[in-house]
């Protein structure tokens, strides 16, 4: 890693740009071809009074969420609490019922190209080779080169010619990450992207996502059901419960984060808060332990 990157990292960690001038978008379009190498910084996200219903069922009610540029926010909650729906609203995959979402003060729709999503399943096109998957939706003369560079950033340069079918789950998600990063998004939405991976691969991916986030300086929003993952990666952990935000906890730990007393304390606090409210799904009753005298041979 060269000096420039190191400086950038330091910048992204310690001093997220608090303000991005309105006319920055004009600059961005002018330098679009060399954009990959030049981080564009994160977008400020502001959601006000978001509500969403599916039929008669409330999913989100009057949710407010503000994210400063370059911040890493994790959203946790029980399954079905609406955390994925919030992400889909921000992504524009679904329309809000009421409320509004702005990016850098503009309507969300004007920044569609600045937002990229990583889904729980990698959603690679199985009929395109890895490199062509990364290059999906890119335009310009140096498409291949940019895709190659993004692939190198996730450590998969040697798999460029492979079909997605032969990759492991973790490798697929890394390709999906490269595909998102090649567009130099200013807001990266991660919809439980590591949910289906094994524990070791997840730890690897945490490191990778953190490094790339620090390098590119985008705003990141991670939806996860794993509180440890949230505490390991995020500047802020937001809990959604009963269709609204129930907890907004800052994680003031230095990066890269390792488990320790402070880490465990925060994780425990969030976890206790998640569990304190009995949801619809009660924990399974404890099985009675049968004393040895009541054992029977199953023959």
């Amino acid at each position: 890693m060269n000096q420039f990157d190191l400086e950038l990292q330091a910048l992204a960690v310690h001093a997220p740009p608090a303000f991005i001038p309105r006319d920055a978008s004009v600059d961005r379009r002018a330098t679009a071809t060399t954009a990959l190498r030049r981080p564009r910084g994160g977008a400020a996200v502001d959601a006000r009074g978001l509500s969403k219903r599916y039929g008669a069922r409330d999913v989100l009610t009057d949710v407010d969420l503000t994210i400063v540029p370059g911040e890493f926010v994790a959203i946790v909650g029980r399954s079905g609490c609406g955390k994925s729906t919030l992400l889909r609203l921000l992504a524009g995959l679904e329309a809000v019922d009421t409320g509004q979402i702005t990016l850098d003060g503009d309507a969300r729709g004007r920044h569609q190209a600045d937002i990229r999503i990583m889904f729980q399943d990698a959603r690679l096109l199985p009929w395109k080779r890895v490199l062509d998957n990364v290059a999906l939706g890119l335009a310009g003369p140096d498409v291949q080169e940019r895709a190659r560079e993004a692939l190198a950033q996730v450590g998969l340069s040697d798999r460029a010619k492979d079909w997605p079918a032969v990759l492991s789950g973790g490798q697929r998600q890394r390709v999906a990450l490269a595909r998102a990063l090649v567009h130099t998004p200013r807001l990266l939405l991660l919809d439980e992207p590591l949910g289906a991976l094994d524990a070791l691969t997840r730890i690897e991916m945490h490191g990778l996502i953190e490094r790339l986030w620090q390098r590119h300086g985008f705003t990141a929003l991670l939806v996860t059901h794993d509180v440890t993952e949230a505490v390991a990666l995020a500047d802020r952990v937001v809990l959604i419960e009963d269709h609204r935000i129930a907890l907004d906890e800052h994680v003031p730990l230095a990066r890269p984060r390792a488990r320790g007393v402070a880490f465990d304390a925060i994780e425990d606090r969030v976890l206790q808060r998640v569990l304190s409210k009995p949801g619809e799904e009660a924990p399974p009753p404890v099985q009675r332990i049968v004393p040895a005298s009541e054992w029977r041979w199953a023959v």
Binding site: K128, V154, W163, Q171, R174
Partner: protein, 285 residues
């Protein structure tokens, strides 16, 4: 990068494990696998030959395989087979081109646009339930007994499998992939050619293979009604003169051409679906 290091070690250990199994036994198995499908036909044909030679089978009923081969050879030398096969193949291909092309076009149309589905699908479903061969009297009235009657029958028969499978293929493209592609800025023609069409190719090819089978069935019937050339004409003609060996040559030709069409369709599958785990060489063990 440490991530890369970890991943490469895991992938090499994965690829190592199966190659440790005894390679000789696998090679032997592969050879047996190659020979086995031919075993049964060989046994049947030699039994048949022996039965004919021993006089248990009358040549009227079934000529001996050797006689069939001889007939095949003499018909090839006289150029008759070439002429008939060319005529039949031409009919098959033109009929398939017209029917399959229309099926593909309408399938894409109804699969892509709801309005087209509402407008056309129920009509097509009704026509689909009419057996193509039931239309023969009508076809003869419409087209007489010339080429168009045969082409029409073949085209009508191959239309529906391709239409149905194209429609189904378009509709069953993974919605998640379409959603992803849209969010990555693909729309319209690009979305269609990069996501929807490749996603439905597997299903369309199933329709193509099904149609190729039907194509020969319909052609045989069409050629036996009335024709001045073609394999069907050759066999009907031979029947008049009790040339059972020539009849058998005709039947064998249909079998060979059918097999050839299937091999071609399989080749298409292997090329177009080479990304598919089911069609990758290392998946076939």
């Amino acid at each position: 990068m440490s991530v890369q290091g970890v991943e490469t070690t895991s992938s090499t250990s994965l690829s190592d494990s199966p190659s440790n199994a005894a390679p000789d036994r696998r090679a032997l198995n592969a050879n047996v696998q190659r020979i086995l499908p031919w075993l049964f036909p060989i046994v049947v044909i030699s039994t048949w030959q022996l039965a004919s030679q021993a006089g248990w089978l009358s040549t009227r009923v079934l000529p001996e395989p050797w006689a069939v081969l001889k007939a095949f050879w003499s018909l090839t030398l006289s150029g008759e087979i070439g002429k008939h096969v060319a005529t039949s193949t031409w009919r098959a291909l033109v009929g398939f081109g017209i029917g399959g092309g229309l099926g593909l076009l309408l399938g894409l149309l109804t699969g892509t646009f709801r309005a087209a589905e509402t407008l056309l699908d129920s009509t097509l479903q009704m026509i689909r339930n009419i057996p193509a061969l039931a239309l023969i009297p009508l076809v003869i009235l419409w087209f007489g007994i010339d080429e168009w009657a045969k082409l029409f029958l073949v085209a009508l028969g191959v239309f529906f499998p391709i239409y149905l499978n194209t429609f189904h293929g378009i509709r069953s493209v993974d919605k998640g992939l379409i959603e992803m592609a849209r969010s990555y800025g693909l729309s319209g023609w690009k979305l269609y050619t990069q996501v929807i069409l490749p996603g439905s190719v597997a299903s369309i090819l199933v329709g193509v293979r099904f149609s190729l089978g039907l194509m020969w069935v319909l052609l045989i019937v069409a050629e036996t009604i009335s024709a001045q050339a073609g394999i069907g004409y050759m066999t009907m003609n031979a029947r008049e003169f009790l040339q059972t060996d020539v009849v058998l040559v005709g039947i064998l030709l249909y079998a060979l051409l059918g097999k050839l069409a299937d091999v071609l369709a399989k080749g298409l599958e292997r090329w177009w679906l080479r990304w598919h785990p089911g069609y990758q060489p290392n998946a076939r063990t």
